[in-house]
Symmetry: C2
Subunit: 402 residues, 2 copies
């Protein structure tokens, strides 16, 4: 068994992980209905003014504003109403002197009119309309191109799409658009003891956890996870698994990166590819490695489920988001007092899971081999290396999982 | 044209919307790989201890702790190593007096042993191991059931599942589980001027925006959106559209809820169902109605895209999350100074979109008919009714869209 000869700092590991993440250049075309959370790959230019015509911004009457001069609540101006323009229709007539056209919100402004008077400022008397407030030129008109003028960029390349941007694209009549591809992530767990859920356990065996937790995280952060079979603890099996996953954008495996003499991922990477680092001064998650095989980055995670998932949050998420061209993750965080003193691993950066109850922060971490350290937690606090303990009552920043 | 006779306050509208949201009782079975963001419908009880055996928490040697009494760096205890237990294997021998068994992290503890000594605290000499630190009983052993003991609840009914909970379920060997169904949301836009993207526009027409923005929001908050065709401005068409959508859990339409004499959704609801409210003292989004048709809630949104989407955030999201049994949405928010004075509609609760630039908050809202009021915004501030303006430099809370 070979103990770690050295570890690198968490900050250094994070930097090297980000350095290894080349934003994908690959694009694909998706339907607008599938574009939420995707990243636009090209500037989408507005091809026609939106709206394509001047239109009423209120229900009321299209008027020549100069005809309404001097109108007052008790001293109305009377105009002749010559037509009704529905939304979606167009007027067949122009508004002449002393005339008006009744108009619905969104209907095209008739020729001759330069203002709309709200229905609330009028009284109707058969074919006549009493205008009780003077209209200023342009009043209650939505101008052609006032939302998105022709030639403007509706959505920029690199912009992450959400409901508002999807709305702007719909306004432009866009039905499909080019977005950056989602990173393809191959996931596999190594270990003779690891069994796929659904099969019975033999003595000494446990179910695979990491490919499920990591797959959720991958999907949450813009990737597409492909689960590969559990890999047995032989150098040949591990090497074959790595080689078979090389077509993916990144390989994330777990187990096999500790210090025992059967820790084979690092060995396989040394033989067939390269190691960027092995061993990070973080708790949990020290036996984590970054390497490459045939140019494909490999993130080798610890087998312990909480170690694996915590490095998923700390290292895989930033890596993946850079690959996907998504902005850095900024989860919701709250500052609250610690209910009890926490003794820390002072020499390592610590990811310490917690629960929030009654406005106070309770430890949830019970061990890196316990998935309940994650499952029973609301979030985590990060304790920098060099902090031996945090006293009860100290205000800590909790990064929330949801 | 009939102006609103009255509006209700935003707080009252929100209360009535939440009152109308009955959490779904319908459940469905999903694969564990599809369970992220879903809500468990039953308590999942741990059927067998996890881990199912006592196991080594470190790479090292399984020992009888009493055999290591008095061991020190320069005064080691020598034990005979009789076997190696790999992870996933089981030992064929028991540890007797003066003996030890080499063991990998995660391997079952051999009979006779009551502690594990880390490899770092030993020296190997062929078949002998020099133990350089005394072991305390139970040291570096992960106890059977120490993570999830048999009979414990791994995931509670009503709990929202994320990576950690999915990990706990995987640990239990769960491959499928019962979750609450996602609310089915029928979406349609009304208006003779509204055209499906992909078709050419005639004069006076614009593209449908709202069903795309609302669909994104629905998917983000646990629902399944079904888009129905754009509905023409006749009472028969609108009534038929509402009737045809009654099998969904909620109908969300837009347009047709203003005060013009062609605003038909409210009229159709009055004739065939009921109206809970019509008109909310919120800006934008005043012409919003809540009703029912045959027991199915109907949220009738304004046609203006920013009004529709802002009420999507303010009213539809809380409604939908209650239906889906998801916890209330708590988006990320930041407190920053306002770059310029904002004059508000003092009589209405206001949803005012903003951009964040250089640590200051800039207005993004340019009009409720402009989708760019949303597309070019980073988030929004809420201005309560009764606040006529907010001065430049005031600290405002920005709720971020992402």
């Amino acid at each position: 068994m070979k103990p770690f000869t050295s570890t690198i700092s968490f900050a250094e590991a994070r930097r090297l992980v980000l350095d290894a993440a080349t934003p994908l250049a690959r694009t694909e075309t998706v339907a607008l209905t599938d574009a939420d959370h995707r990243v636009a790959a090209i500037d989408v230019i507005v091809s026609d003014d939106i709206p394509p015509f001047d239109r009423a911004a209120m229900d009321g009457y299209a008027v020549r504003s100069r005809d309404t001069t001097g109108a007052g609540p008790d001293d109305p101006v009377t105009l002749q109403c010559i037509e009704y323009v529905y939304t979606g229709a167009t007027s067949s007539m122009a508004v002449g002197r002393g005339q008006c056209i009744e108009i619905a919100t969104g209907a095209p402004l008739p020729e001759g009119a330069d203002a709309v008077v709200m229905v609330e400022e009028t009284t109707r008397d058969a074919a006549h309309v009493l205008i009780r407030k003077p209209a200023s030129p342009g009043q209650h008109i939505g101008r052609r191109g006032g939302d998105l003028p022709r030639g403007q960029v509706a959505v920029r390349a690199g912009q992450t799409l959400g409901p508002g941007q999807i709305g702007a694209l719909a306004a432009c009549g866009v039905t499909r658009l080019d977005v950056y591809a989602r990173p393809s992530v191959a996931l596999f767990s190594t270990g003779n003891e690891i069994v796929e859920p659904g099969r019975p356990l033999d003595r000494g065996q446990i179910y695979d956890i990491n490919r499920f937790t990591l797959a959720s995280l991958v999907h949450r952060h813009g990737g597409v996870a492909t689960a590969m079979p559990v890999t047995a603890d032989t150098i040949d099996h591990v090497t074959a698994a790595l080689e078979s996953a090389r077509s993916h954008d990144v390989i994330v495996c777990s187990g096999g990166s500790s210090v025992g003499d059967r820790d084979l991922v690092v060995e396989a990477l040394r033989e067939r590819g390269e190691i960027v680092f092995h061993g990070v001064s973080v708790k949990p998650g020290k036996p984590t490695a970054l390497g490459r095989i045939g140019g494909t980055p490999v993130l080798a995670m610890p087998g312990n489920p909480t170690s694996c998932l915590s490095n998923g949050y700390l290292l895989l998420v930033p890596f993946l988001r850079r690959l996907a061209r998504l902005p850095p993750w900024e989860p919701r965080a709250i500052d609250l007092p610690l209910a009890r003193r926490i003794a820390s691993a002072a020499d390592r950066h610590q990811f310490f899971t917690v629960r929030v109850a009654d406005g106070r922060v309770e430890p949830a971490f019970t061990g890196s081999s316990h998935i309940t350290s994650m499952a029973d937690a609301d979030g985590y606090i990060e304790i920098p290396a060099g902090t031996p303990s945090i006293d009860a009552g100290s205000i800590v920043r909790v990064t929330l999982f949801a």
